[in-house]
Amino acid sequence: MSPETTVGPLQLSLALALIVTAAATLYSRHRLTGVVLFLVFGVFLSIYWGVIGAPDVALAEAVIGTGVTGALFGYTATVMPRPAHDRRGSIARTIAGLAGGAGIGAGLGYFLTRAAAAPPGGSGEPVGLTGQATAAVPATGVEHPITGVLLNLRSYDTLMEMVVLLSAATVAVAFAPRSDAGSSTRGGAPASEQRGPAAPPIVRGFVSLVAPVVLLFAAWLLFAGSTQPGGAFQAGAALAAVMILVQTSGVGRLRIGPAMICLLLLGVLAFIAVGLGGLVLGDAWLLLRGEHAGTVTIALECILAVTIGASLAAVFLASAGRRR
């Protein structure tokens, strides 16, 4: 599905569905309908990414953008169903908002299309770094170009991105529910609150059935990443999904304790170690070439996946932990 072909009915209908679901999500009356419509939007967006020839982004959007974000929103919206001051927006305001939004979007689209249509300044060669990037990928030890870019050509970007996740996890640790933060709980929270109310047996059965499958799926995603779409981020998010399922269904008991914090540190520490190794062995930070580059990348991806899973789970626990 090369981007140059003209737009088929599938892409057009998906694009339309995206706009309509987005408008519905933005102007929904209740929080819960907003969250559910957001999930529908996420599904459409994942399919759209796949259809325009970006499978990695589609997978990431599905697992991270819709899966984990959906879980975060879903849980928070149900724990706080009614906003403190729910003002009924009138129909006129909704129409005005939609018109205004569409106007700004159209203006932005017009200027962007004009800018994109103009031939690239001066240099005649095709736009983008496709040629150079695909030529350089074999040296990175992985075949899939996206993973090659993420973990070798632009690995410093991915390291800083892990630092962003570390920052989010630190905020989660700071706002962990009191009973979790390991500090002396005054009078100790009631036992039931400690374990979280047990979900009905059918849910516990479903989770104990599905969790191993999703774990297997996460592992498969991780190792597929070197040859086809997949990789540490999607695998990490699938891992987080398992943790969230286990926590909410009461099958297991996760808390932001020393073990979780240890997992949070591991990923960035490993990445910096690889960076330092590149400096010591080669002559530049994060240098990763030669025959064992592939194995080091895979090992690093495993640790990154675990840390990404732990970070997203920590954020879920902090935002959805039972405090009341």
Partner: protein, 92 residues
């Protein structure tokens, strides 16, 4: 062989589409939550079964076929559990 496979795909696909439409009609027409859940859970799961069958026949390797069946089974389990949870919310 492929002609037979194509015929099965087309028929199964149409049947699947039919059941999905039935499920959606049920959602729109039925009066209360529980009957809607009933319509959705049953019809859509069966529709997905037919669509999986349609895809199964075209699968090139056993691995892909197994994955399609796995997708269907997981979808069944998820549909049943979420329907149970939603039904549980509205105790009469």
């Amino acid at each position: 062989m492929t002609l037979l496979a194509d015929i099965v795909t087309v028929l199964a696909g149409l049947a699947g589409a039919g059941f999905f439409t039935a499920g959606t009609l049920g959602l729109l027409r039925f009066p209360d939550l529980r009957s809607r859940l009933h319509a959705l859970a049953k019809a859509d799961s069966l529709g997905l079964g037919f669509v999986s069958l349609a895809v199964l026949v075209q699968a090139d390797s056993a691995g892909t076929a197994a994955k399609v069946v796995l997708v269907w089974l997981l979808a069944l389990a998820a549909a049943a559990t979420s329907a149970y949870l939603l039904a549980g919310e509205e105790r009469p």
